[in-house]
Point group: none
DNA sequence: AATGAATGAGCATTCATTCAT
DNA sequence: TATGAATGAATGCTCATTCAT
């Protein structure tokens, strides 16, 4: 019936993961119910538990999705010849998401903020991993550019992204992304 | 019986506000129950409602507390002669809070992130106001320094604070605050 | 200070009783809070308990008020020479209250209906007493008219009043009172 | 396992509706907790919300039950040849319920009285509809009897029912129903 | 694998009543 | 007497999770 190679269930799992990623970004973890996710994925609530044992499993899947998305994006950027251009393209990609950022913030960032408040550190560690993944790739570009303090520079760039996303959200103004994005590009050019 | 000049109830109201501010910062809005706040303030749960009609009223009170704290801090900074020095002192104050930031993020920032996810815009507007309050004061300093693009510069500075707080939290590393704080000071000096 | 002969507190007690009677009629017993009554009487909530030990005491006071009002009305009607005319004047008085009846029903009747649902029979007995008080006076008029079955006739008349009040409320139509009132008058004339 | 043709859930929904109707009649809306209804239906409290989203939904269901019961009764009465006999049979049915009426009043009437006290008009409108449903059927019988003022006569008959139910309750005397019922039958015969 | 239906712990909120002064 | 404040037991409702089929 399915014209895909994958097993039947895998598709539904992916659908749930995608739904979780989207809804959790929009509503936050605590304000999102399993029913919300199930509805978005068009899957009966009871069935969700066949694929994810707990709500936290779905949050973890969303984190995985973010990680995969990041990987895919950086892989694509790797096709660009110059490391500086790769970073500039990364900033451009961020700015492109300005409308979403102004409404719901950086998907990874806001999720991390929420998970960081938890007393038990399980998912927050996972969230930290995703942030570090981005940080590492950025640092690699700075290293390729010949900078010794690549880690510091990476921190500054990613921090800049998080900051501008937060400010765009707080001020409900996408143009914050444009302005700060331009500044980051200028900074990259001046390095 | 009381050695204070203030009315009896006002003290408890302040106690509740302070408790709310602290607990909401630590646990986030959604994960915090009224019982949590009541317990922190050492007030019976039922009594909370004598002072605050709803949970959201407590959140709003916490926002007010942030605003007042900000006012007090900037008032103190105003005593410093040079606007550039004022801003550098502001950054220093941020860095001083590094342990807290690394554990729970920027109090105003994380609260704003959470409130921004709400569908109905009431408290998120209030949160935006607090962010803007800081932004305005910072912009005034840049204006005093003779910069025409004070608003942009203010955005960059505050955005830098939000970004470094978020990164410190994600990486669970207070030193992020030290490093990025130093960079901001350098940036201020170079302006 | 007070230019009345009565003790200071008595006035407040009357004020509370009047407020209770009015608010209980409008909102019903269960939907009325002590605060509602206190506010209507312009008395601090805590002070209510000095005059009435429990909420039920206030309900009982309202029943007493109804009884007193009834007494006063029938006393006034007693001034009319003919018993038949007294009854017709009673019906006219009911019809005069048509707007209130269409909105909130008969004060005594609706209160009785609500109290009758209680498992413990204390206040409902009291309510029954008030209804009986009216019934007795009406029966006396029928006796004076020379009817042997005065009790039955009284039941019919008062039942008619209760029925038309309920219907006026259900249909939200004061004219129900006018029409049924006219019928009762015709019935009285035909006896 | 089930020897019924109906879906599993429908049966429980009916059970809850029946329980709500019964308990609400006995205790009144405000004095009835969801736990009361759940217990009467032998359903866990949390599960009630699977079938009814709010307590008011349950009240509405009870109103629907009354409407359905009324429909069923009048349908049965329609089998009787003469309209006057139909009405007399209706009165007889009312009198048959005298024990219940003397204890808890007319199910529809007392519910309406309580709902009418609400400030917001949603359920009270629904309650009015049920009263009107009875009124309409009765009026149709009077029309069939050749009366031009069928609406007025219907009002008088139903009003008589409400009045006698209320009085039976207030006096805690089922015989009130018998006596007033007989009077109504006499009135019908005399028309 | 799929699904409608449980289940019960938890939470915000209300309110009659009491207390301290 | 008067009053603001305190108290705690309820109550409606939500929701993650489990169950039965």
């Amino acid at each position: 019936m399915t014209n895909s190679v994958q097993p039947r269930g895998a598709e539904k799992r992916r659908r749930l993961t995608a739904a979780a990623t989207a809804v959790l970004h929009r509503q936050g973890v605590e304000r999102t119910t399993l029913a919300d996710i199930a509805k978005e994925a068009d899957v009966p609530v009871g069935n969700v538990y066949y694929y994810f044992k707990t709500k936290d499993d779905l949050v973890q899947a969303a984190l995985g999705e973010h990680s995969a998305y990041l990987k895919q994006m950086t892989d694509a950027l790797d096709a660009i010849g110059e490391p500086r251009e790769r970073l500039k393209a990364l900033v451009a990609a961020w700015v492109e998401q300005k409308e979403t950022a102004a409404r719901y913030g950086c998907p990874t960032g806001t999720l991390t903020v929420e998970l960081d408040k938890r007393a038990d550190g399980i998912l927050d560690v996972e969230a930290g991993r995703v942030v570090r993944q981005l940080l590492d790739w950025v640092a690699a570009q700075f290293t390729a550019m010949g900078h010794a303090n690549a880690d510091d520079l990476a921190l500054t760039l990613v921090s800049g992204y998080q900051g501008m996303s937060m400010m765009a959200g707080a001020l409900r103004d996408p143009e914050v992304m444009t302005r700060e994005g331009a500044r980051l590009v200028g900074w990259l050019d001046g390095l």
